[in-house]
Structure formats: C-alpha cells, structure tokens
Amino acid sequence: MIAFDASQKRPEFIKVRIRRQDGPGEKPYWELHQITYEPELNVISVLQRIASQATNSDGKKVAPVTWDCGCLEEVCGSCTMQINGRVRQSCSALVDRLLEDNEDELVLEPMSKFPVIRDLMVDRQRLFRALERVKAWVPVDSYYNLGPGERQLRDTQEQNYPLSQCMSCGCCVDACPQYKKIELKKEAGETDEAFEARKEAAYDESFVGPHAISQAMLFNNHPTGKALAGERLEALTGPGGIQACGNAQNCVAVCPKEIPLTTSIGRAGRAATMYKIKKFFDK
C-alpha cells in the first residue's frame, strides 16, 4: 500500500549490479543479478532474494553476496552502502522509489572510505575509534545509586536528543571530501596486537569526522559531560581535528538521521577558537 502511482507500469524483473570483492586488497569486479519484481521491496529484501537463489543473471552458480544488516528499520546503522552512487542505509532504500530514478538497474557498491572486508561489507572500526578520541561519554563517579541527574530544560533536551540519535552508520564520513580512506596491510611477522595498534595510531592522526565532532558537542552540552569539555576540545584542535573540515557540507546532506552536523561543526569551531585563545593566555 505504498502510495506510488499505481498506473505506472512495473518491470517484470529487476536487474541488480553489484560491485564485489572477495577479500581485503583483492581486485573488485562487477556482477549482474536478476530477481523477479515484487512491490514493496527494499534493498535488503533484494539481497535476501539474491542470497536464496545463489546464481547470477546468467544462471551461473556464484558465492553469495556478503553484506551487513541488523534492525531493518534504520536505527542500528549496520546496512550502509552506496546505492545508485549515493551512500545510504539499504534497509530503508525502497526499490519502487529507486526504480523511479533509474528504471534500468540498481547499482550496489560498498562504502568508499572504509576497507572492504568482502563485497558490501566494510570495516568501520575507525568510526568507533573516533568516539573514543573525543571521549564521547559522561564521566560519572560510579554506577551506584546516587540520586537523579541534574534537571534539564525541555529546550536542552530538544537540542541534545537529535545529536544523540547518531547511529554510527558512517554515511556522513563516506560523503566527506576531507575524510580519506585508510587501509593498512598486515605486515609479515606482525602480531594481531601490533597490527591493531598500528591501525589505531593511523586512525588517531586522521580526520575524526563530522559524527565525532557532533558527539563532542553533545557531551560538552551535558551538565556532567561538560567536565571533559577541555579534553574534547584539545582533541578537536589537534591533528585531524576540526580544522581538517573544509565546510563542504556533504555530510549533513546524507545523514539519514538528519543530524544538524554543520551546526555542530560551527559550534565546535567557535568553541575551539575560544579554547585556543584561552590556552594561549593561560600559558
């Protein structure tokens, strides 16, 4: 009962072109699949159909496509990929809508800024690492029962709640021209731990990304979260911090949660300037 124009003719089949990759560092290749059209499909249900038929459009048996999903209702952030060239959540990408834009085929590609693990699945560890970098948490004393938190005006809640809906999907960073892909290779003889540490060090020097800047602003606006405001600004004024942002505003345009990222970035910029001036005079 999706309110699309019912008179519009629907195709019998849907062609799905998928950019596949068998593993990290392997060469990507395109593969064409075909499924029977049904109304009300989304990209996840298309991938499920493809998984259960296990053949490509020539009827040749191929390994099933790998992808990531969870909630299927655009709240967990798992299922990000590029669909018809635009990064977005695949669970909420309705096929009928996509066919309106491009009736020939659906084109599915992995996100562009993260190392591909396999096919449409990427390694987004760096996104979470950035949250640690900006200390995106409230530094409470303990988890014992110590009474309620501070009272908060409705206005404050209404300012914070939208920022708090960030689901770490990574659409924003994928679209950001300043966020460059980092893909390291494990060296011969390197232990897992050493490799992890090398990756983290590389992540920590690179641009944190708009989602993390926004989280820093969220916690700097919390009565107790504020206690770490200085440390967060320190991180944002360091290498890969706020100055890396070129203000291209791509991020805010693709965020599925419509988080006001550029507002956060603006706030962070002002706070960072104040912080640097203060630091200069405190020397």
């Binding site: 998984a51 296990a54 655009e74 200390k135 409470v140 009474g147 409705r154 209404e158 708090s164």
Partner: protein
C-alpha cells in the same frame, strides 16, 4: 589474588550493563557480540522504561503496585522475588540512566516526563523520543567504551558464541567463539560467563526483532545442558507494520499518546478512512474494555485484533489483514515531539504520513518471556538477596543468564516498557553475585588447561568443517528451511493454539530439523562466510522451536500470551443473581484447580538422544501476591471478583476457635 576475568556474551542492554558494572567492581571483562554492540537489537526499543515516580506516588502508586501490575499482567507466572526486587530498583535505574546522559523527554519544568503504557493505570514510563532503547543502549555503550579506553574491557565484535567450555564437573570455564570475518574458532577461558543474548524472534521467520535474534546462543547453552524455561510464552505484539522482510513494530506508545484502534463497521469498506464517519467506525477495544480502552495488556489487544480480522471478517482489506491505528486527531507538533521516531519509520517504509492517514497494523511476534532457566536466592523481605552467588546462575555452575534470554520476570505476558528495565536491572544486579561466586572458587581462568580448551575448540571446528564440506553431499537450502520453519511456527504457535495443530507441527518441525542437518552451502570458503554462520544458527533454532511447541502442547489452559480456545474459561451465563453467584463459585473452584495444575514454570532439558526436550514443571514463588483471576472483559467479572474477595477475606481472617 590473580586478575579475574568474566566473559559477557551479548552487548545489548543486559550485556552492557553487566560489563559496565563488573568493571566498576574491578573485574576484567571480555565482551562478545555478533555485531558492534552499539548495533544490538536493544537499539530498536521505542516506547520506554517503567518505574514508579514522584508524580505517580502522589496518585497512590508505589513500587509494590508496579510489582503487582507486572505480576498480574504476567498472569502470575512470574517469579515474585526477582520481580519485586526489580520494581524496587526501577526508580534508581532511571536515575542512573539519567546521570549517564540519556536524553529523556522533559516536562516544562525540567523533570523527566512520563507516559502511560499498557496494563497499568499510572504514567510510569520514561522515554526519550520514540527511540528509548537506542538512547539507553548508547548511554551504556559509551560507558563501556570509557571502560574499554581504561583497559578494563576488551571487545570481540563480529564474533559468534558457539558454546560454553565445561570442565569434568560440568562447571563453566569459558567459551568457544568464532571470528565471523576470519572464521577462526578459538577457546577463551574465564572465571565466569554471562549470557545476555536476547530473544529468538527469528524462529518465527519474520518478527519485530533484528536479524541477530536467532536464539542461537541460548540454544547452544541449552544443548550443552542448561535448562530452558517457559519457552511457549511468546508475546505477539498487537501493532506492527506488515512487511516482506520484517514486521516493523509500531510502539505501544502510539496508543499511550492517545492512538485509537478501529475498523470500518462495514466489512472491507473501500472508502478512505477519513471519509468514514465516526458512527460507522468500530472502536472495538474502547467498546469492549471501557476501563483500559486502547491500553489493554498486549495479549488481549492482540487477540482482539486477530479476532476482529479472522473471526468477524472486519479486516480493512480482505487479502492482507490489518486494522487502523489512528493518530490523526492529535496535533502534529505534539506527535512530532513525542512520537517522531516511530512515525518516521512508518512514513519511510510505507510511504504514507501517519499524521494525516491512519496507519494499518497487524499483530507480530515480538518477545520471548521464556528463556534460560536460572536460579536466585530469596531475601527475608521477599526480594532477592544482594550478592548471593546463585542469583541468575543457570544450572550450569558459573554460567549466568540475564536480559531477554532469562525467564523470571514477565511470566505469561510482559507489560510494555518492563523489558528494558529487566535487562538493565539484571545486568547491574548480578555484578556483585558474580564477584561473590568467583571469590568462592579455588580455581579460575588461569587454571583452565590447554587440553580442556583445545577439546572444546576441536568439537566446534569439526561441526564447522563438516558444514563446509556440505555435509558430505547434502542438498537442502538453509534459507528455504528457515522460511518453512517460520511459516509453521507463525501458524500454530502464536495468537491461537490448538492441540491437533501443535502435535502435527512437532512432527513437521522435527523433519525440518533433520533436513537442516543436511544443508548444502552456496559458500564453502573460509573468509567472512555468512552462509555457514546462518546455517549453524538455523540448526540451533530447532531446539528452541521444539520447546515452544511441546510446552504449548502440554499446557492445556489459557494463560497470558498462551491462548487455547478449547480450554477457555466460560463467561457467566445466568441472569438470576443467585444462580449467577453459584456460577461464580464454580468458576473460582475451577480457577483454583487449574492453578494447582498449571501455575508452574515449564522447564525443559535437552535430550540429545531423542533430539527433543524433556519437560518438567516447577512451582512458581507466589509468596508475596496471591494469584487472582485476570478478568479483563469477561462477562460476570464483577461477581467473580466479589466472591474472590470474600474468599480471600475468609482465608486471611484469624481462625476462630
């Protein structure tokens, strides 16, 4: 003392609360999850979390009433000591989550705002927009990240738990898990293991749950010897949006905020809903349940919607069953502020604005009240003994179960907004118990021998390799088997249950189980192979499915979500007051007799030989609140209540000699 290490499997609300509390208590934690913990299924919870609060208190509410509503709503199958403890912790848990930064909605004065949920007359439910679960999960995720940064927690994300490691005495000494990217299978030693792995909605094919909710982890513990209890109690949520990949939930908060459920009085009326005048709309919940109206408990709302569509033939569409859930009378700004998140879901997935046009909804499988059996120590005041090692320990020593995959709290039917509470509560409350357990042990993680580890690992490796070899020539498609399983379970083990259908289904599910052992995989590689992971979880759905079916078959009564029309208690039919009273007496005698037989937890042991569960029945602790009939909407309820009250008074009166 050597460093203590606990493995927590599951990073939903329960697992995260546990990991966070344990690290505060100085224990090192290894946290395992199928997905980055921030993406766990708890993120889907919409409506809110319950506790009595300063405002409801002044209207006569208190912790005891929350306890009472929970137990009454659960048709007395809940274990009362843990429920009591939870209700008394509830206000403190909300305060803690508030301190952790959860952006709960606020009143004009800056207090936490509350809404009303089903099964209570008080506004107990705190909420953060319409994404409360997400906000609670994020607050815990942030604390866990903080503990991780401090070196107290190690995360193992994209790891599949394959089973517990047990020593020769049966005690749990660690786990075997598989890296879902490299496919490496490894043993991990621990002083204690906690599973908080959530529900099992995927046993039904489509449900309101995330794709992670296969129940596989609980099933693996069950097959290793842990008991599984009350499996047959599966909550079917009254209001979900039917979809081909998922049945997306429309939260109870839509009704809590004034949403009204109706159908056109004329079957399959083709007019647009807004063109149907009030007189031609049937607000069936409001008419049938004047006191609770649209907010009757879930099991009842579900049955009524099912009944209106299936038996009364009043579904909006003839083909696809649904009824209207209508919010269009509420101002848009208010809807956006309080329900924005869930209305967006509807709009996004259905392409229709629910602020303008009523939503179409139908019931869907939503929650498992049953789960791994676990113990507890009752305290002198009828709650739980803080720090007692056996709190939430399964019958496998050293293995704990918490969150949706335990079984104590929600009886035969869970009240809305009580699950987030039980998850966080069990995670926090068990911390000191686990620490006490470890303190009593003479050996710990450091003493787990390589032999023990490699034996456990080898067993899992063999299962894996066997599947990759296509079971030496198997030819079954796991996705199709899953579909068949889901269809059968949805048909016979949801809203209405009949013995002939259940018996037949047990045979069919057993056949499917055998076939699932013979699957052929399209992917036989050893890199990020989702096929083989799915195949394993599919095989492990069967023991749970069998518990549900057998438990349902053997329970010849109606209780909460378990509804068998053949064993329904009749309404009173007599008009004459004397006769009506006599009928009420008989009704109550039957009620007592039925409780003697069925007011018991179903407890299953997995029988490896027969590949089916053996069931026994365990008494339920009803020491604090005496079971009373649950009479929503029954004809003659008033007189049954009178007689019940008289009987209770007589019982309680001091014996006169």
């Amino acid at each position: 003392m050597p460093e203590q290490r606990v493995i927590v499997v599951g990073g939903g609300l329960a697992g995260l609360a546990s990991a966070m509390k344990l690290s505060e208590l100085g224990v090192k934690v290894d946290l395992f999850s199928l997905t980055p913990v921030k993406r766990s299924h708890s993120v889907c919870a919409q409506g809110g979390i319950n506790s009595c609060n300063d405002q409801t208190r002044q209207l006569g509410d208190d912790e005891w009433k929350h306890f009472d509503d929970t137990v009454y709503g659960g048709d007395f199958l809940n274990h009362q000591p843990p429920v009591k403890e939870m209700a008394f912790w509830a206000p403190k848990i909300i305060e803690l989550m508030d301190r952790l930064g959860v952006p709960f909605n606020r009143t004009g004065e800056g207090f936490i705002d509350r809404r009303r949920f089903g099964g209570t007359l008080y506004k107990r439910t705190a909420f953060a927009g319409a994404t409360t679960g997400q906000q609670l999960l994020y607050a815990l995720d942030e604390q866990v990240r903080r503990q991780e940064a401090a070196g107290n927690i190690r995360k193992f994300e994209f790891w599949d738990f394959l089973g517990p490691i047990q020593d020769e005495t049966g005690r749990c000494r660690g786990i075997v898990a598989q890296d879902m990217v490299s496919m490496e299978i490894k043993s991990f030693a621990a002083d204690a293991v906690v599973v908080g792995t959530g529900g099992c909605g995927l046993v039904y094919g489509r449900s309101t749950m995330s794709v992670f909710c296969t129940g596989s982890a609980a099933s693996r513990c069950f097959q290793a010897g842990a008991k599984y209890a009350n499996g047959e109690f599966i909550q079917v949520h009254p209001t979900a949006i039917p979809g081909s990949d998922k049945l997306r939930l429309m939260s109870e908060s839509a009704r809590g905020e004034g949403g009204r459920v109706w159908v056109p009085r004329k079957p399959h009326d083709a007019r647009m809903p807004k063109d149907i005048p009030a007189g031609e709309r049937y607000y069936f919940l409001e008419e049938r349940y004047p006191e609770y109206g649209n907010l009757v408990p879930r099991d009842i709302a579900t049955r009524e919607i099912f009944d209106i569509c299936v038996n009364d033939g009043l579904s909006i569409d003839e083909e696809r069953m649904s009824v209207y859930l209508d919010l269009t009378h509420i101002p848009k700004a208010e809807l956006d502020r309080k329900l924005g998140g869930i209305l967006e879901i509807y709009e996004k997935f259905q392409g229709v604005d629910p602020r303008i046009e009523p939503m179409r909804i139908f019931p869907a499988v939503h929650y498992s009240m049953g789960g791994l059996w676990a113990d507890y120590q009752k305290s002198a005041d009828g709650g739980l003994e803080m720090g007692a090692p056996q709190n939430h320990m399964t019958n496998i020593e050293g293995l704990y179960a918490i969150g949706e995959c335990d079984y104590h709290y929600h009886g035969a039917n869970r009240l809305g907004a009580n699950s987030l509470l039980s998850c966080i509560f069990t995670g926090l409350f068990t911390g000191p118990s686990i620490v006490a357990y470890m303190a009593n042990q003479v050996s710990g993680a450091g003493d787990v021998t390589e032999a023990m580890k490699s034996a456990a690992q080898k067993k899992q490796q063999e299962r894996h390799d066997h599947l990759l070899s296509n079971n030496s020539g198997g030819d079954e498609n796991p996705y199709l088997i899953h579909q068949e399983l889901g269809d059968i379970m949805t048909r016979v083990a949801t809203v209405v249950r009949r013995n002939d259908q259940l018996s037949e289904a047990i045979g069919k599910v057993d056949d499917l189980h055998k076939r699932s052992m013979n699957v052929s995989l399209a992917d036989t590689g050893n890199w990020s192979n989702q096929n083989v992971i799915f195949a394993k979880s599919l095989q492990d759905m069967f023991p749970i499915a069998k518990c549900i079916l057998k438990g349902a078959l053997q329970r010849d009564e109606c209780r909460g979500a378990h509804f068998k029309p053949d064993f329904q208690k009749p309404s009173l039919t007599a008009e004459d007051p004397g006769e009506r009273r006599r009928q009420a007496e008989v009704w109550l005698d039957e009620f007592d007799k039925n409780n003697e037989k069925y007011l018991k937890s179903t407890v299953a042991d997995w029988n490896d030989g027969s590949q089916s569960p053996d069931l026994t029945y365990e008494d339920v602790d009803t020491g604090s609140i005496k079971p009373r009939p649950r009479l929503y909407g029954l004809v003659g309820a008033d007189i049954i209540e009178d007689v019940f009250a008289e009987r209770t008074r007589e019982e309680d009166a001091p014996a006169t000699v």
